[in-house]
């Protein structure tokens, strides 16, 4: 178990999303937290690109992510898998209010 901890949605916005590797490559930043029609919580990550070009939002299930102190990591998908994710469109889901407390697992630094 990754011991999911309570975290305020507003505190997640803007956090860096890293690869769980020693070099801590940045995959993107958290833009929004949304609920899909089935009630599942998705974290919308501004993903990929180079020097700010070619970035696009993708929705990652909250269970696939962990907290690493003030950063987050995607532990359940490789960058290659994430590249196959469809671009997130707002029509699919509704925003979770910033004061809502959700749960996210933990990780220790990778090295």
């Amino acid at each position: 178990m990754r011991f999911p901890q309570p975290v305020r949605v507003g505190d997640l916005i803007g956090r860096d999303v890293l690869r769980p590797v020693e070099s801590q490559d940045i995959l993107g930043q958290i833009r929004r937290v949304v609920r899909d029609p089935d009630g599942g919580i998705l974290v919308v990550v501004e993903f990929g690109g180079f020097l700010g070009f070619g970035r696009r939002p993708i929705a990652v299930p909250v269970d696939a992510m962990v907290l690493l102190g003030p950063d987050t990591e995607i532990v359940a998908f490789t960058p290659d898998q994430l590249r196959q994710f469809p671009t997130f469109s707002s029509a699919m889901a509704s925003d979770v209010a910033p004061d809502t407390v959700i749960r996210m697992g933990l990780a220790k630094p990778s090295h």
């Binding site: 178990m1 990754r2 011991f3 901890q5 309570p6 975290v7 305020r8 505190d11 907290l67 690493l68 102190g69 003030p70 697992g105 933990l106 990780a107 220790k108 630094p109 090295h111």
Partner: protein
């Protein structure tokens, strides 16, 4: 000569089996052995100078000397900077010598703090008894030897208050800890008596969460993160150097900030 800062028994290599970072580092060592490294060039030789016994002994001797220098630099009245509660990172950052999935929660009801060594009243303590002592809070920076840091808000019993309460010999050299996750640790008495050294029971406004050491952990504003054991189960006051988990693997003992 017997050194107070080195374990008499070299740590069992089997311990490494469940310790991924160390195993990786050993793999790296293998890589270095396989070839020439800039580090060995720096020493103007092409052979393995990374850590032969003589080099290791010299480095550990300097590290012990540095422990002394650090103790001299430590000002018992100097307080670490504190921060507003709004800056507390919630939840805290997790780290251990094993993955978070290996955390084994401790039952607060049956938990006891065992006491030993130079202590007048060695009766074990319950969580309720600790909660009944005067509580202090501090919002301080946690600094890890790895380089990262975050601001955390900790509450609990000042270790100085607790040591006075149990009649500990405050002139003793060391306070040593044992933990539920087999992470022995020890600190100098001067730091144990520092006002920003707590037996922490709470983080933010909540009891410690399981991965952060519930029910009781040590939290010091004046030492690196690895000196702060979680899930503390035993405390000893002693004049015999007790060492610690990372210290036995090469990290400095004093580790003062």
């Amino acid at each position: 000569m017997k050194s107070p800062f080195r374990p008499e028994v070299i740590p069992d290599k089997a311990v490494l089996d469940d310790h991924k970072p160390l195993i990786r580092s050993l793999e790296r060592r293998g890589l270095i052995r396989g070839g020439l490294s800039l580090g060995s060039l720096a020493m103007l030789t092409g052979c393995d100078v990374e850590r032969p016994d003589a080099v290791e002994s010299a480095l550990l001797a300097i590290s012990r000397f540095n422990d002394g220098v650090q103790a001299l630099l430590f000002d018992p009245r100097k307080l670490a900077p504190t921060y507003p509660a709004s800056m507390i990172l919630r939840p805290a950052k997790f780290n251990a010598y094993y993955d978070v999935t290996e955390v084994k929660p401790v039952n607060g009801e049956s938990w006891r703090l065992d006491l030993s060594g130079l202590i007048a009243d060695k009766r074990p303590w319950t969580l309720g008894q600790l909660q009944a002592l005067p509580q202090s809070s501090m919002v301080i920076k946690h600094i890890c030897v790895e380089g990262w840091s975050y601001i955390g808000g900790w509450s609990g019993v000042r270790l100085a208050t607790f040591l006075e309460h149990i009649g500990a010999d405050l002139r003793a050299k060391y306070v040593a800890f044992k933990t539920a996750d087999d992470y022995p640790s020890s600190i100098d008495m001067a730091t144990a008596l520092h006002p920003q050294t707590l037996l922490a029971l709470r983080y933010g406004d909540e009891p410690l969460a399981d991965p952060f050491g519930f029910p009781v952990r040590l939290r010091m504003a004046t030492k690196l993160g690895y000196k702060n054991p979680k899930w503390v189960t035993a405390l000893e006051v002693t004049n015999t150097y007790p060492g610690g988990f990372w210290e036995e693997r090469g990290f400095p003992w004093f580790a003062g900030l």
